[in-house]
Symmetry: C2
Subunit: 230 residues, 2 copies
């Protein structure tokens, strides 16, 4: 298809497409002469991914280029997830070096307690330390004991994530999906948690009212096994 068709099918202005081509975000089309270049379905898919990473994921053009470069590397498919991880911005920018250092032992303790095998170079170590520091400064200390049940839930989510990725046979598609699963599933999970908080707070409030607020402090219900997927 011509660039005008690509523009129409994806709702992306031609000028934007040419900008992505110049910036190396979009692979060149097939030149059929001095003025005619043809594009394929892979350009449609790539444009949608660029839009998702920038508009939804909030990535800069530079970060998007890094992620796309990681996606295009012919790596071991599961190892690609690591490359994607390091190319993506972390959910928290860990700028304050000294203050983050204070929380580093707690991060090590949590990783140790979970038995997680994490690279020393992982940007997520510092990002987690920065987040815990924020919470601590606001008077909300989260101890390793407090964080462990959340880490268990994260581990269960990661297993679901990787099960999904293992269903994909095409290696380039897999790398692309790894970026999508890491970045675009994050808001889904955040929204699900907020919905669950609304439901849970509604139940607890109703319960507190019927017992005139005199019930026990915690109304924790047993934590169910996540249902089997697929």
């Amino acid at each position: 298809m011509k660039v005008s068709d690509l523009s129409r099918l994806t709702g992306t202005p031609v000028g934007t497409i040419k900008y992505y081509l110049r910036e190396g975000l979009l692979p060149p089309g097939r030149a059929l002469g001095a003025t005619l270049t043809m594009y394929g379905d892979e350009h449609i898919q790539r444009l949608r991914l660029i839009r998702a990473l920038t508009a939804r994921g909030g990535l800069s053009i530079a970060a998007t280029r890094d992620v796309l470069a990681a996606i295009d590397q012919p790596l071991d498919p599961l190892a690609t997830l690591g490359v994607v991880h390091y190319a993506l911005p972390t959910p928290v920018d860990a700028a304050e070096t000294d203050a983050v250092g204070e929380q580093a032992p707690q991060v090590d303790q949590l990783l140790g307690a979970m038995g997680w095998d994490i690279s020393e170079e992982s940007p997520h170590r510092r990002a987690l330390a920065a987040s815990l520091m924020d919470l601590s400064r606001l008077g909300m200390e989260y101890s390793t004991e407090d964080l462990l049940p959340y880490a268990e839930l994260a581990a269960a989510a990661a297993r679901l994530d990787l099960d999904r990725l293992e269903d994909i046979e095409d290696r380039l598609r897999l790398a692309e999906h790894a970026a999508i699963v890491v970045l675009l599933l994050e808001p889904v999970l955040a929204i699900l948690r907020r919905l669950a908080q609304e439901d849970e707070s509604r139940h607890r409030t109703a319960w507190a009212r019927t017992t005139d607020g005199a019930g026990p402090r915690s109304t924790t219900r047993p934590v169910d096994h996540p249902r089997e997927s697929h």
Copy 2:
């Protein structure tokens, strides 16, 4: 303390403090004369919260004002969580009305399957629809069956969140902590998931190598009960 002490203790420039006072983000201090106004510990805590909401949570000044207004309302403490929810921006901006509508039945189906009691006005219904639409356009359909195990994990996380909030007796502090738990725990959970993905992908890759990649497609381990906290 004087405004200069408040500035020094919180690392916030005096000009910024005066801006927050003018914008109504920070309650006025106690005037001890025409030129001397005194501030208290509550101003330190509030400044830290404003900084966390704006710098970490990425909220605008207007959104921060809405959240702080919600926090300061003398409401039922657990219902406050709902007010905070609606004042916070959603993780996804659901701008495309028509396209979001397409996914609305799937959102209803998921909420029904979970038995979640969610207001029709919840901004998270539309935000979830928008996220699912993004994924679908990128060729990653998540069916209700695919989402259910994630929703179960979100429900378990929400129970942990509300257990934590129920430990807090002071009602204003509780509302403040609700905003922190909703907004600032989100990056913590996102980072924990990425760390868990790294660990899980390392295990699966190592496993795949030792068996020469000829193992079964899925290496799902049993999902553990989240450990008991506290």
